[in-house]
Structure formats: structure tokens, C-alpha cells
Amino acid sequence: MSLSSVLALAAVALSSLAVATAPRSVLAFLAFQGALLFVYLAWIPTWLRVGLLGVALLLLMPLIGAFNGYCLEVATQVGIFAALALGLNIVVGLAGLLDLGYVAFFAVGAYSWAIFGSPHANVIFGGGFPLAGAWFYAFLFVGLFVAAITGILLGLPVLRLHGDYLAIVTLGFGEVIRVLANNLDKPINLTNGPKGITPISRPPAPLGLPYGEYFYFLVLLIVVVVVLVNRRLEDSHIGRAWEAIREDELAARAMGVPLVRMKLLAFACGASFAGIMGVLFSAKQVFINPESFTFLESIGVLAMVILGGMGSIPGAVLGATVVTVLNLQVLKGLSLWLNELKNAGVTVLGYSLADLPTQFEPAKYERMIFGVILVLMMIFRPQGILPARRRQRELAHLER
């Protein structure tokens, strides 16, 4: 057995142990994730890689969840955003269309189940709702299609726009969806406005699994499918057509690539992943309101794609993991840690931390994180951490 194989096994084993002994420790969980990344990247035989990742994701992670429910929640959120990042990756990374309003598709999917899977639909239709929880599975496909159609509707008018203008128009659309969600409580109450919709039905969990574990496995399954779909799209004439459009639209057209159809397809495919996850999100959260679907979320997903690498499938997953963990665990952990230090009366250079203004809360600084990620990545590594082959060639020559 090679050294790296041994290291991989050791990393996974040791970090799992660390988490088992210190379930509340953010560092231990980060170590576990680091171990998984190592397994993914290391020069080890494929069977070992797949085996270790499989064991880690299917066995170890739920076990960790038993010790610390929050870790499982983080893992589930990572999965949700990974699917979103993979969707945006198609639009931005493959086809080169900068969509700044991507969260709109997520919202559309979420609201589609939220409305029909909750008593709220009675307000609109007069009775017969909510639909039984089992309808959730059908709605995964409903969300997919509704989001795809929304993607096409968005795509149609913006087809002729380029670069900057396309970005701003999609931003506008995203904002329009948000404002609509916030205001469509009159004349007909579609979305219940800022109050949001609740309670949203959940499907009956198979095998009597607790919902934390159930949603984790479901998210994992969907992410695997999304990754598979992405790879198949990428390695096909469709993927090549998208790349050609991104390289040189005029030449692509001259070579017989139907621009309109391909761009709409990109929007529709990208949107559909967000749609499915939206449905899942609303069932998982049981409560949604327009606050979850703002420009901040769109940029968050963009930051994930940029960080990981535009057009790169592993990059999108990595980006989603890093950003989600940063926001949900690191920043939050910093906030908690700071509070502990304050309570303990710790002083730094003669200044008591308890005197820090109460408004200063590290957990709230998501925007700063996104901003820093975007700027630093653009200046120092525009091709991302795990670049797609083609982007590596395109952007590597910009590196100083």
C-alpha cells in the first residue's frame, strides 16, 4: 500500500475519532472535511477513493450527526448549495452567461411546494390542501419543470445581451422575483408576503429515519444525480456547444450551433437543479419567506462557483462546501467563541473584550466573506481552486 493510501485512511480515521471525542468542536469537523478533500485529491487507487468517500458520506457522516445534529445540518446545507452551485456552474461556467439572479429559480421551486404542501393553498383555492406529504416526491419534478420554464422565460429576453448588461438584467429579474414574493399577498394572496408560508408538509420518512438523517441522504442522492447529469452534459455535443458559445459566439453560430436554443437550454438546465433543491428546502425548513431568496444568496452561490472554479464540477462542490462551512460554522463559531471570551472577561492588550460593542457579531459578516473571496479570486486565481481544464488554459496566462 502506497504512502498516500495509508495517509488517506489515517486522515479519515483520525478525524472521525476527533469528532467522536469532541462533537462540539468546529475544528474537529473541519479536520474531517479536510480529510475528505484529501481523499478526493490524493493519488490513490479509484476503488479506495470511492470506498473511503462512500463510507465517510454514508456511514460516518450520519454517525457524526448522531453526536452533533448541527454538523449534519451543515452537511445537508452544503449539499443543497452544491446542487445550486452546480446549476449556476452550467450557466456561468460552461455557457459563460453571468446570471446574478440565480436565487430566483430556487425561490420558484421552494414556493411551488410551499404553496401546495401547506394549508396556504386553501386561501387561494378554497379547500383540499395541504397535499399529503407523499406528494413531495412528485413535486420534486414539478419544481424542476417550473424552474426550468422560469429559466427559459428569463432567457428569452436576455439572449442578445452580453456580459455586463446580461448580468445586470438578471440581477434585476432576481430582485423582481424577491419583491413579488414579498408583495404578492394582495390582491390574491399567492405568497403570503413577508410573513412567509408555514407549516409545509414533509414526506413520511422511510425506515423511520429521523428527519435530519432523511434529508441528508436525500440531498446526497440528489447531488450525486446532479453531478452525473452535469458530467454527461459536459462531455457531449451540448457541453461543447456551450463552450463554443462562450469562446466565440459568432464563430459558434457560423459553425451551426443554434445560439438561442443552446442558451435557453443552459438557463433551463441550470435553473432545474435550483428548482429541485428549492422544493426540498421548503420541505426541510417547514417555513419559508422571501428573506431566504435575496441578492445575497445569488452572490453567495456565485462566490461558490468562482472559488471552486468556473466550469469545474468538483470545483463547484468544493466551493459550496467552503463557503457554507465558512458561514455556518466558522463565522458562527467565531461569534460563539467571542462571546465565551467576553463572558470569561478576557483582555487583549489591556482592552477587555467584554467592552466590545454588542453590535459586533462575526456571524453577520457573510457579505464581507463573499466580497473578499470574489475579489481575491479574480485577482490572484481567476480559474478557481480546482479549475476546469479549459478555464485553466484561458486564465492561467493572466497569472503574474
Binding site: 457531449s236 455535443h237 463554443a244 469562446e247 459558434a252 459553425m255 443554434p258
Partner: protein, 263 residues
């Protein structure tokens, strides 16, 4: 049997400038060249033929089908393909990927085929690969199949452009200054290749060229444009000694003998 390609009375204005004035151009087979001083409207004509923008007046038909109002990708699907004056390869894609994109209009796969990786998908992709390699072989780039397009030397890039255009299985090929920047040897090789393509594939080719040696050697027919008008058309020798043509290039009578010697 409808004529292969027939353009009549093509007129195009850009604001106050008349780029093309009632130009007729027809081709059945073989290689026809369009020459003329810079700004004569040659590329504009190509752009109209391939649907980049419509003509203001006149008609263009291909195999009896009017091309007016069709998009460039639709025209390519019908069987006309072009190359560009400035190389427009997909720079960061590999050589073979460039050719594969060229085949886009001939692929009958749908979204479901791609997602399901069914037998049709496997067969089609294998078929595409084989054809792509064969095309690269024909232009002499088979050894470079996995090289990145931007890294190819200039002459090879031109040949890749040709291979990519051929990938769409056109009946009519429009080449915009294909030998620009080439050495005499390279240009000669390209011309021989074009001749082979006409014979082997039954292709008709329209060339825009400035290289007179190439034009005279390879063309069955030469058309001369000047300031948007057709001023001469016929076999190469005839056109070469046409007084109006000489005047168009030189502007005055006089140093014609030197010009003729260099050509």
C-alpha cells in the same frame, strides 16, 4: 435540378454607404474566386451569403431555397459553411473539439440521449470521433488532435479552421482569405488540398483572396468587385488582362506590366 447557389441583384447599404450594388453571383461547382481592392465589399458579400445580416435588395438561393431571413446556424445546416478573415477558432478548446463543434448541425441527438447515455449516444459519439479524426487527417493535423487550438502555429490554425468548416458536411464552402499570412509552400499545399476536396467530396468553393498567384492557379472562375460592383467575371486569364480590372487595382494606366509580372 435547382442551381446550387444563385445570388441576384444583391444590394447592401450601411447608412449612407452602398457596400454592394446589384451584384450577381452564381456557382454550380468547382472553385470560384472573388477578388477586388480592399473595401470592395467581398466580406460583406460573404456575410450576406451566410446570414449575418440580410441584403437590402436582391435574392440569394441555395439549391432552390431562398436564404433570406435564415439565421447563420440554419444556413450552415442547409450546407453552406465559411471561414473568417481573422482566425476565429475556439482558442481554448482542443483541435479535435473544434472540429467536433463544427459537426453540431449534423448531430441528431436530443437532451434525453445525452442524459441517458443510451446506445444511440455511444454510437453517435464514436461515429463523430472517427469522422473528426478523418478530417484532421485530411488537413494534416491528426498528430495535433489533443493540442489546444491557441497553441498551434498560424498555418496549422488556418488548416484547423478549414477542417472545422468541413465538419458540417457543406456542399458549398466559403473561404475568406485562407492563405493570408501563409508562406508560398503552405499556400500551394492548401490549394492542392482544395482541389482534392472538390474532386473527392464534390464541394463547390468560393474563395476571397488577395494572393493573385493562388487565384490564378486554382480558380475555375474569377469575379472582380470594386466599390461594391461586379466589374468583371470569367476565367482567370481573361480577367487578369481586363482593362477595367487593371484600372481598379492601379487607379491609373501605366505600370500595368510590372503588376502583371508579379501576379
Amino acid at each position: 435540378m435547382a442551381a446550387l447557389f444563385d445570388a441576384r441583384g444583391v444590394t447592401k447599404r450601411f447608412g449612407g454607404l452602398t457596400a454592394l450594388q446589384a451584384v450577381d453571383f452564381a456557382l454550380e461547382s468547382g472553385i470560384a474566386s472573388i477578388i477586388g481592392p480592399n473595401g470592395a465589399g467581398k466580406t460583406t458579400l460573404f456575410n450576406i451569403f451566410t446570414g449575418l445580416y440580410p441584403a437590402d435588395e436582391g435574392s440569394v438561393t441555395f439549391r432552390g431555397r431562398a436564404l433570406f431571413g435564415l439565421r447563420p446556424d440554419q444556413i450552415t445546416a442547409l450546407g453552406i459553411c465559411r471561414t473568417f478573415q481573422n482566425i476565429r477558432l475556439f482558442a481554448n478548446m482542443t483541435v479535435i473539439e473544434n472540429v467536433l463543434v463544427g459537426m453540431n448541425s449534423r448531430i441528431a441527438l436530443g437532451l434525453w440521449d445525452v442524459l441517458s447515455h443510451g446506445p444511440r449516444f455511444a454510437r453517435t459519439e464514436a461515429d463523430l470521433s472517427t469522422r473528426a479524426v478523418a478530417l484532421l487527417d485530411r488537413v494534416g493535423l491528426q498528430a495535433n488532435a489533443n493540442d489546444v487550438a491557441r497553441n498551434l502555429p498560424y498555418g496549422d490554425q488556418r488548416r484547423l479552421e478549414l477542417a472545422r468548416a468541413l465538419a458540417s458536411e457543406p456542399a458549398l464552402l466559403l473561404l475568406d482569405e485562407p492563405t493570408a499570412g501563409m508562406t508560398r509552400t503552405e499556400a500551394g499545399a492548401l490549394m492542392r488540398l482544395l482541389r482534392e476536396l472538390v474532386v473527392d467530396l464534390g464541394l463547390a468553393i468560393i474563395l476571397i483572396e488577395h494572393n493573385m498567384r493562388v487565384v490564378m492557379e486554382v480558380s475555375d472562375r474569377v469575379t472582380v468587385l470594386d466599390h461594391g460592383e461586379k466589374i468583371a467575371e470569367g476565367p482567370p486569364r481573361e480577367v487578369q488582362s481586363d482593362a477595367r480590372v487593371i484600372e481598379a487595382y492601379l487607379g491609373t494606366r501605366g505600370s500595368a506590366p510590372q503588376r502583371a509580372r508579379r501576379a
